[in-house]
Subunit: 377 residues, 2 copies
């Protein structure tokens, strides 16, 4: 053991085989079940993409209708979960609340003890529908607004905006969120998905795996990055500063700029392409391209100075802000999307399971270090 060399962060190490997501970091390719993300962002919906992730193929019209009906029917939630949302302080962070409420969901799920393929699929519908509901419900509750009943006629993206804002969302806003959900739906063994698979590989249930994944997504190095990007945009705007000068100063102080670079992509993150476009389009539609303009200037400067590309987080910040979404809901919305990928990975893990249990390179005190009695220490 002591001769082994640690691959810190498992960079480049293959942890499992999977048929869900293929990424070519050098060519900037992201694909779900072999289909390019650009095609899906252009033509697909979150519902169809989730079907693709879970079942391995695009649905025909009847399959999509059945899927949509099932997801919509899952938009009910135990009153006990709503009690929890009402009982926590209004300043609790939405990610803490989402992690806790998702764990609580399992207690009221009739399939909890069943981790068969079919039960996992049934629970995946409920988790997908209800994670979105929890995010919207808690935001209403913490703001002292009445909660909004789910509307079964709306799409997943549309219903989320409806339950969040209490008004029927525009087609532009719904489609923009729908595309953002497609883009964030899966990304191979990112840290939260890998956490979900490590947990599921003990044959723990899908709620345990997803609760752990939400915890991982909460970290600033994962889901928290677009919040940090938006905080930077706000800070520059508030200071009335020139964005290039501001970022130059940050670099001089050895500070990092969130939303740039990626462990896997060595070229443009293909998701950034769509989010940049959406940030611009939504800004123009709203008559306010301030956040887009700021973002673009920062992107150009960071690219020039550091040879770093904008990643998925960078333009999602201005996109979500232009959609009127609070900054601390960015990461929860990431979860609203990524649950589709987490579920696909847990189903795949349980279908052909092996415990995930690596080793550590031991660098501590030599064995055997003698045990000394307390009087002799």
């Amino acid at each position: 053991m002591s001769t082994a060399v640690a691959t810190k962060g498992l960079e480049g190490i293959v942890a499992t085989s999977s048929s869900i997501c293929w990424i070519d970091g050098d060519a900037g390719v992201l694909s779900y079940r072999g289909i390019d993300i650009h095609q899906l962002a252009k033509h697909s919906t979150f519902e169809e993409t989730t079907y693709l992730l879970w079942f391995g193929k695009l649905p025909n019209a009847a399959e999509l209708a059945a899927f949509t009906a099932e997801l919509s029917a899952a938009r009910t939630i135990s009153p006990k979960v709503i009690d929890l949302l009402r009982s926590v302080p209004t300043d609790a962070t939405p990610m803490q609340v989402l992690r806790t409420a998702t764990s609580l969901l399992s207690i009221y799920d009739a399939d909890e003890a069943d981790s068969s393929h079919d039960a996992n699929v049934r629970k995946s519908y409920r988790l997908t529908a209800q994670i979105a509901m929890i995010v919207a419900l808690f935001d209403r509750i913490r703001k002292g607004k009445p909660v909004v009943e789910a509307d079964p006629t709306l799409t997943h993206a549309g219903n989320f905006l409806w339950m969040l804002n209490g008004e029927k969302p525009s087609e532009t806003a719904t489609r923009a969120l729908d595309i953002a959900l497609i883009l964030h739906a899966d990304h191979e063994l990112n840290a939260s998905t890998f956490a979900a698979r490590v947990i599921a590989a003990t044959l723990a249930d899908i709620h345990s795996a997803v609760t752990g994944a939400i915890g991982a997504l909460k970290g600033p190095l994962h889901g928290g990055a677009n919040e940090a990007t938006m905080r930077l945009l706000y800070a520059i705007d508030k200071a009335g500063a020139d964005p290039v000068e501001y970022v130059k100063q940050m670099f001089a102080e050895k500070k990092k700029i969130s939303g740039f670079g990626h462990r896997v992509y060595h070229t443009e993150d293909p998701r950034a392409t769509h989010l940049r476009r959406m940030s611009e389009e939504l800004g123009k539609a709203a008559g306010n391209t301030k956040w887009f303009d700021l973002s673009q200037k920062i992107e150009a400067f960071v690219k020039q100075e550091k040879k770093l590309n904008a990643n998925v987080d960078f333009y999602s910040a201005s996109t979500y802000t232009t959609l009127g979404i609070d900054i601390d809901l960015f990461t929860p919305i990431f979860a609203v999307s990524r649950i589709s990928g987490w579920a696909a990975h847990v189903i795949e893990q349980h279908d052909d399971n092996r415990l995930i249990r690596p080793r550590a390179e031991y660098v501590g005190p030599a064995y055997p270090t003698p045990y000394t009695r307390i009087g002799q220490r």
Copy 2:
């Protein structure tokens, strides 16, 4: 990517360096910070062992007194968490409840947003004290018994038994549980600890990491194994069967016997040695060695037939049952102990962090699979 070969389950792959735990699977060695587990089981306490895991050395008398006082002072819990324990159905599994309540703890933790070394240590005291309390409190509540206030004069093991049973535990029972807690306190990158580190490596907070770890521990391939062992012992006893014949029949039906074999140990699990002895001693003290005798016969037969050694789970089943502990509390008690190791690993991860993000070997549909319109599917 497509040429890579997946190391399924990351078996033998080094995922990180660590100075906490050293295992030699061939020689049957387990050590914490270089000190052999046999020494710790004989001479140490859970408090002292936890100090060792967190701070890297055995405490002197003053350090141990301060540590014990800090841990004891952390035996207070938000009434909101107790409300949750009262609100869930009495047939909710203790592991679901523990996972949810641990996640909820973070909402009432003043240090939640602070993942500095010192804040992590402060939160580790609270998590260690309060996970034990949650397990005991929920067991009382689900049985309709009044909850028991923590007793600051008792040790961690003693206070747990006191809060669980409502009577002062015997010295024998307290010491037996204390040893079990020492034996289970850490085990390098086992699945739950690895899950905790994957989550913590996004710089998510320690409550997120521990909540995920509890989810992983819940799986039948991890913490659930000693429950399965006890169910087997009950089944054999109920059937009045000969244990060797019973197990022979199970092997003929290609069934697995829980509590045997280990991913890392190729000889006797050093923890099994102590649990076997405790199972025997507690049985003799209680005037009932039925579970120990049954276990011993099964162990000998499995060893002879399959060349498999008993692991930590096998004799913990009869040990806990002889201590009067319900079968569905075995895994929660594993968490009551393992939190000390989880905390040590999260602290170590945050002290020198790198995102844990491996890759998958893609085995799905070829890229690019064309996107077809819905009418053409």
